[in-house]
C-alpha cells in the first residue's frame, strides 16, 4: 500500500503562536516544549466525515420555534476550498456566536447585556458538491472581556471546520468588514501576517443581500492542501 499524501505545512506567519503576552489566557496554557513534528499517517490524513442524517443541519440561527431573534438579519455565504483551489464538498461546518447585544446563551457568560429568548446561537451547515455553504443569522454584538482594560471583542462568528483529514481540522473566527474593534483585538492580531488576518474578514456583498430581508456577507475559507507546494506559475514564467 502506498503512503497517504501528507497535508502541507501551514504557510509561515499565517498562524498565531501559542504564547503571547497580549492574550493573557495563553500564559499557563501554551506548551513550553517545542512541538514534535510527526509524519502524516492515515491517522492524520483521514478524518471524520459526518452524515447529514445523523448530524442535522441548523441553517437559520435568526429564529427559534417560539419566534424571531432581535437584531440585524444577515445571510452568510461562502466556499470552502483547499490550497489548490479544489472544493471541499460535503464537509460539516459548526458555528456559534453571541446574540445582537453581545451575550452568549451560555451560563459562563455574565456580561450585563440581555439574553434573547429567541436566539440560541449554534448552527451546523454542510458544504455542497462545489464546497459552497450558506446560513442565515443575526449580526452578533461586540462584547467586553477581561483581557485588559476596556477590552472588547469585535463582532465575530466562531467556525469549526474539518475538511478531509484530522490534520486539516481547524477552529477560526469570522469578523465583519469595517469593524473598528479588530485593530484593537489581541486574538485577531495574534495572526502575524496582515493578509492572513484580512482573510478572516467577511465582506459585505450587495448581491447576497436580500431586499426587505437581510444583509449579505461573503466568507470563503481555504483549508490545507496536500502534497508538495506547487511551483507558482508566475515564478515558472518569470523572466
Amino acid at each position: 500500500m502506498s503512503d497517504p499524501v501528507p497535508f502541507r505545512p501551514y504557510v509561515a506567519q499565517t498562524q498565531p503562536e501559542y504564547d503571547a503576552a497580549i492574550y493573557g489566557s495563553t500564559k499557563f496554557r501554551h506548551p513550553d516544549q517545542k512541538l514534535l513534528k510527526i509524519p502524516h499517517s492515515i491517522t492524520e490524513t483521514t478524518g471524520p466525515q459526518f452524515a447529514r442524517s445523523r448530524y442535522p443541519s441548523v441553517i437559520d440561527l435568526s429564529k427559534v420555534a417560539s419566534g424571531e431573534a432581535q437584531g440585524q438579519r444577515i445571510i452568510v455565504e461562502g466556499r470552502v476550498t483547499d490550497e489548490d483551489g479544489r472544493p471541499v464538498p460535503n464537509t460539516m461546518i459548526e458555528l456559534w456566536q453571541a446574540n445582537s447585544t453581545g451575550r452568549y446563551h451560555h451560563e459562563g457568560d455574565q456580561h450585563d447585556a440581555p439574553l434573547d429568548p429567541h436566539f440560541h446561537g449554534a448552527g451546523r451547515v454542510f458544504t455542497d458538491a462545489e464546497g459552497k455553504y450558506r446560513y442565515t443569522s443575526i449580526k452578533p454584538g461586540a462584547y467586553p472581556w477581561r483581557n485588559h482594560h476596556n477590552a472588547w471583542r469585535p463582532n465575530h462568528i466562531h467556525y469549526s471546520l474539518f475538511g478531509a483529514g484530522f490534520a486539516s481540522r481547524i477552529i477560526t473566527q469570522m469578523y465583519f468588514e469595517g469593524d473598528p474593534l479588530m485593530a484593537l483585538d489581541p486574538i485577531y492580531n495574534m495572526v502575524p501576517d496582515e493578509a492572513a488576518r484580512k482573510r478572516l474578514i467577511a465582506l459585505f456583498d450587495i448581491n447576497l443581500t436580500e431586499p426587505e430581508w437581510a444583509l449579505g456577507y461573503r466568507f470563503d475559507i481555504v483549508l490545507r492542501g496536500r502534497g508538495a507546494t506547487p511551483i507558482e506559475e508566475a515564478h515558472a514564467g518569470s523572466h
Binding site: Q15, S25, D32, D84, H105, H158, R169, I170, R224
Partner: protein, 173 residues
C-alpha cells in the same frame, strides 16, 4: 496557490456546540472491545482546565455504518473528560511500518490559539517499541505522557498537562 485560513481560539463559549452524546462513540451501535478513555487536564500553574474541548479521532476500527471514529467531550469542574469508544487495533504507518494502537487527540480551549494535537496509546499493547511516533520521543519519561494505563477493566486513564515539568508531548502535524 491559495493560503489556508488562520486558526483562532475556540474560546470559553464553545459549549454551545456541545452534544453530550458525542462522548459515546459507540452510540450508533459499534461493537468490539468497548472502553472508556478518561483523564484530567491541568495547566502550567497546576490549575484544572475546566473549559476544554477534547476531541478524539481514530482510524481503527475503520469507519462504518455503526462507527464514526470521532468523539468530543468537554472537561468538567474537576478538569476531567471521559469518552467511550472501541479499542483501536494497530494502524499502518508509512512504508512497511506498523503503528501501535492509538487514538489521535486534539485539545481546544480558551487560551489555546490553535488546537493541541497528541495521541493516546495503551500500556501493555504490542508494538510500542517499534511505533514510529513513540520512537521520535527520546526521553522515556516524556514518552509515558502518551500512554494510558488501565485503572479498572475497560477504563483507560491518562492525565494531560498543557505546560511545565510534566508537560504532555504535543505534535506539530
Amino acid at each position: 496557490m491559495a493560503i489556508a485560513v488562520s486558526s483562532q481560539t475556540i474560546g470559553p463559549y464553545w459549549h454551545l456546540l456541545r452534544d453530550p452524546t458525542w462522548a459515546d462513540m459507540t452510540r450508533f451501535g459499534a461493537t468490539g472491545e468497548v472502553i472508556r478513555i478518561e483523564g484530567r487536564i491541568t495547566d502550567g500553574a497546576g490549575d484544572l482546565v475546566t473549559d476544554a474541548c477534547v476531541e478524539i479521532w481514530q482510524a481503527s476500527p475503520p469507519v462504518s455504518d455503526t462507527f464514526d471514529g470521532f468523539g468530543r467531550a468537554g472537561t468538567d469542574a474537576q478538569g476531567r473528560f471521559s469518552i467511550k469508544t472501541i479499542k483501536p487495533g494497530p494502524v499502518p504507518g508509512l512504508g512497511n511500518a506498523q503503528q501501535a494502537p492509538h487514538v489521535a487527540v486534539t485539545i481546544l480551549a480558551r487560551g489555546l490559539t490553535k488546537g493541541l494535537a497528541t495521541r493516546i496509546y495503551f500500556k501493555g499493547d504490542d508494538g510500542h517499541e517499534t511505533d514510529p511516533v513513540l520512537n521520535l520521543i527520546e526521553d522515556p519519561a516524556r514518552r509515558e505522557t502518551l500512554i494510558a494505563t488501565q485503572t479498572t477493566p475497560g477504563v483507560w486513564s491518562l492525565d494531560i498537562c498543557l505546560q511545565g515539568d510534566t508537560e504532555t508531548v504535543f505534535f506539530d502535524v
